[in-house]
Structure formats: C-alpha cells, structure tokens
C-alpha cells in the first residue's frame, strides 16, 4: 500500500489588491510515495514544497485534486494519529518548557495517560534535550527548537513523518544528528517525506527524490539510478603547478589550486593520462571515478520547460533507462553502418 497518493493536487491563490488574479502556487501534482521509503522533495525556495506539505496537513485547502494518506482521505482525522509533522522554522508555545510542550502534544495526540510521561522522557532523551527539559522554550536556541520539533513529530510513534527543511539553521553537528535520526526512522520501518534544498543530504538519505520548481513537479527518480555512472569519467589529482599539455589534448578539464591539479577526463583516456603523468614524472595523488551528482540532475530539471504538459512526468530513472536503450541502439546502428 502506498503511504501517500497525491492525485492532481492543485493550489492557486488570488493575489493583488483591487483586481485579484490567480497565482498558481502548485500545479496539479501527481505523486506516489511508497511505504517505508525515505522520499526527498527538492526544489528552490518558493517552489511549492511547503505548500504541498501544508495541503497534505490540512492547514490549507486545495483548489482541486485530493490525496490519500495511509489509505485514508487526507482530511480524515484518523490520519492525524498516524502522522507526524515538523514545519519549517517551527514556533511553539514559548511559555512552556520542552517537557510541558511534549506532554501537551502527547495529550492532543491521544497518547494514553499511563505511559505518557515515560514516553516524553524517552523522546527528550532521544533528541538530546534531557538536560534542558525544564527550560522554557523562549530560551531555546534554534538548534534546540529544531530538536523539540523533531521530538513532537515522532513522539506518538507515527507511521509516516513529514519534515519541512529539517536541517535548516542547524550547525554541522546538528545536521548530523538529524540525519542519524532519519536513518533510525527508516530502520524502524517508517516512511519519511522531507523537503530540502540541500542536495547532499538528499543524496545521502533518500531512496527517491522529486524535483519541484515553480509549482510544478519536474522529475522523480531513485537516487541510486540518477547518480549511477552514465558519463564515465575519471578524476585525477596530481602534484603540479600547470596542466601538462599532454592531458589537455586528451580532453581533460583541469583546475589548478596551489601546487595541485585536479583534472577530469573521459574514462577511456585513463591509461593514456597515466602514461602522460609517468612520462612527465608527475606525482599522482589520487584517481577516482566520477559519479554523476544529484546536482546535475537537479539543475537539469530546473531548466525551463518548452511546452507545458499536464501528463505524469515519467520517472526519470525509467526515462534514463529508455534513453540508454535509445542511445545504445543508435550507437549499434551507426557502428553497423560504419562498419566494424
């Protein structure tokens, strides 16, 4: 069963003072999130990530379309006991302490009174706020608030967790902790849907990602597929102050920094490149295959689209496979044509 099924969810606002014109914050979105996966929702600021989350949470009402969460209509109150939500830059009741807030939220989530305080303590421990549990939230730092936010999102043991920019404003240590938490959630069998514009996090954590831009879903695909080697390249780092001409003629893109050079070349030139370095007696530091990064995929998807189509964007990993097949066929044809 799919954890989330979004069916043509659409949101438009009326903007303007006198003559209100509709502004499409989210074009009809069709997306399915599988049970147990970690899904990253990528996009620049203002792309529609938060709008999508607010629609799913029922904080904002769609102008068209619907969604099913855990098999139930998204407006069904029963859904709410199975999901957790961490909004972007969360605000909480300042006057409460962390413990009081979590206790209040536990009450509202229907956590039975019997194990409630134990569960709260457990959560505080888990997010590392045990020492600050009695301090009023108005005194909390951003990182601490983020942790409280995570705690309240998972304290009722939901099946599905929504996180909006969970790493925002955190220092590297904090981000590491959040990443660990998400890994833990995944290993507990929970589904995690989080939005971010930090690609490295998405690459490290997600099973699948979707790219959204200007309210439109531009592409969806499995991380593993999208970052697999397509363009076989290698990266050579060596000691030198200039780029040896031999390498340039092989088609290397090189960058010099201090007394080191960083050059990227097609994979088949690997042996030739090493030969150049050996000949020039240049000291090799490292040689690694270059994997296509998520960044490329992302930027590609962000480019403006010629025609506006409302069809389901084919999963890009699927599309890549199809392109591969096409390319292979073409190469095969040309080889046949040219002759062996």
């Amino acid at each position: 069963m799919a954890a989330i099924e979004i069916l043509d969810l659409e949101k438009s606002y009326l903007v303007g003072f006198w003559r209100k014109r509709p502004k499409l914050a989210l074009r009809p979105l069709r997306l399915t999130i599988e049970d147990g996966e970690v899904f990253g929702f990528l996009g620049p600021n203002g792309a529609g990530k938060t709008t999508t989350l607010k629609l799913l949470m029922g904080l904002v009402f769609p102008t068209a379309g619907s969604a099913r969460i855990l098999g139930m209509e998204m407006n069904d109150p029963r859904v709410k006991s199975e999901i957790g939500f961490l909004p972007e830059q969360p605000y909480f009741y300042d006057h409460l302490s962390a413990r009081e807030l979590l206790n209040y939220y536990a009450q509202l989530s229907g956590v039975p009174a019997k194990g409630r305080s134990a569960r709260v303590e457990q959560m505080l421990e888990r997010v590392g706020l045990r020492d600050a549990a009695g301090v009023q939230l108005r005194k909390f730092s951003k990182g601490m608030l983020q942790r409280v936010g995570l705690a309240q999102a998972i304290l009722h043991d939901p099946k599905l967790v929504f996180l909006d920019e969970p790493m925002s404003g955190l220092d590297p240590m904090g981000r590491r902790e959040v990443r660990d938490l998400i890994q833990q959630l995944r290993s507990e069998g929970k589904t995690v849907f989080f939005s971010t514009h930090i690609l490295s996090d998405a690459e490290a954590l997600c099973d699948r990602v979707g790219v959204i831009h200007q309210g439109e879903l531009r592409g969806v695909g499995a991380v593993a597929e999208l970052t697999s080697e397509r363009q076989a390249k290698i990266e050579i780092i060596f000691c030198a102050t200039t780029v040896p001409p031999g390498l340039t003629s092989l088609g290397a893109e090189a960058r010099v920094s201090g007394d080191m050079v960083n050059a990227v070349l097609p994979e088949e030139q690997q042996d030739a490149a090493l030969e150049v370095l050996r000949r020039e007696r240049i000291k090799l530091i490292s040689l690694t295959p270059v994997r296509r990064s998520l960044e490329e995929y992302y930027i590609q998807k962000l480019r403006p689209v010629e025609a506006r189509k409302n069809e389901i964007p084919k999963a890009d990993d699927q599309k890549d496979k199809d392109d591969d097949r096409e390319n292979d066929a073409r190469i095969e044809a040309s080889r046949k044509g040219v002759g062996a």
């Binding site: 009402f61 909480f92 009741y93 939220y105 509202l108 936010g149 999102a153 009722h156």
Partner: protein, 258 residues
Amino acid sequence: MNSRIGYIAFNTFREAVRDRVLYNLIAFALLLSGAAILVGEISIDIERLVVVNLGLTAVSLFGVVIAIFIGIGLVSKEIDKRTLYTVLSRPVRRWEFVVGKFFGLTGTLVVNTFFMAVGVFLALLYVAHKFEKMDVWVLAALYFIVLQFLIVCALALFFSSFSTPLMAAVFTFALFVIGSLSEDLRGFARITSGVGGWLATAIAYLVPNFSALNVINQVAHGDPVPGRLILYNTVYALLYSAMAISGAVLIFQRRNLK
C-alpha cells in the same frame, strides 16, 4: 474528543497566566484600596455607593480589556506565529480548537473575576464595617459581569477567526461600546421610521445586549435584581456566545492558514 477540548482549555489558561495577565489584579487591588481608603476618610454617607460603583465598574472594564487583548492575542497570535501548525497536524479538530480556546479564556476571566470580587467585598467591609443584606445583590451584579465576559470572549474569538489581531480588537471593542447602549439603540429604532428605522432595528437587536447586564448602579443603591432577569440574562448570554462561537467555528473551518 472532549478531553482534547479540556487539554486545549487548560493550556490556554496556563498561557494566559504565564503571560502575566494576573498581574492586572495588582493594579486593580491598588485602585480599589486607594479608593476605599479615600472614601473612608471623606465619609459623607455614600461610601458603600462609591465602593460598589467604582469596584464593579473596574471589574467590568478591566475584564473586558483583558478579554479582548488576551482573546485576540491567543488566537490571532497563534495563527500569525504558526504555533497552530503542529497542533492541527494532530488529531485535533478545528472546532475543538476554537471551543477549547473559548473555555480557557473564559476560565481565566472567571478566576480573575473571583479574585477581584474578593477585593471588592474586602473594600466594602472596610468602608461599611459590616455586610448588609443588600450586599447579596453585588454577587448578582458580578455574575452579570461574568456573563458579559462570556459574550466578549466569544466575540473576540469570532473576529480573530478571520481578521488581523488589530482589527479583531477594534471590532470587539466597538461592539462592546455599542452593546452597552443597545437599549437606547432599540428605543431610537422604535421612534425612527423608514430605511433608517429598519437598519437601526436590525443593528439594535443583533448587537449584544450589554445594557441589561449592567446592574451596577442599581446594586449600588441597594435595589434587588429580579430573579427572572437573572434567568433571562443567563439564557441570553449563553445563546449569544454559542452563536458567536459557532460563527467562529464555521469560518475557521475553511480558513487557509498562512
């Protein structure tokens, strides 16, 4: 379902208290004690009159101001500051939120009024040296003031459900002023004819009837409050509040949170 309303109400009360609302009691106590002592000095046989008039008017006005500002602060502020996001992502219905807030708010005011009432009676004891039988009616006046708060809170919530904090405060306050003159407004409507008359009648009947809830002067002169008035006012206040709250619920149900 009901327990959630209770939790929300309690949290609202806690927030109001921690927001130092109860500090107003200090100002109130100072005002009342000062007046009582002053009146005690002058002693021209109207001590009771002054203490009751001043004390009850202060309870009423302080309370209305608190009701408006806290009421609006608590709801509009929540919508503004998005504390609601994490609350509504839980199995809390929107209507439960509104109703819970209402109970929390009125609960705060009842507690506040209780302390003020103690103050008024202490001041009365101080200037009159003993309680008279007619002082019982001061309780009736206080009860009416609490009914008044019920309506004001309901209105504050109603306006908060769709307008900005400032506008909600202005509207609620305006209705309080107009409502205090509602009996005169109905009188005026009765002697006006034509379109103006219809308009005046509509407004005069829809505006909350605070004039009948103000028996301060009566009670200061020791006049009794008719039992039937107590009954009718209670029914009216409860129904009017229910009306405003259901309006708030209906609006809040379809509100897109920013």
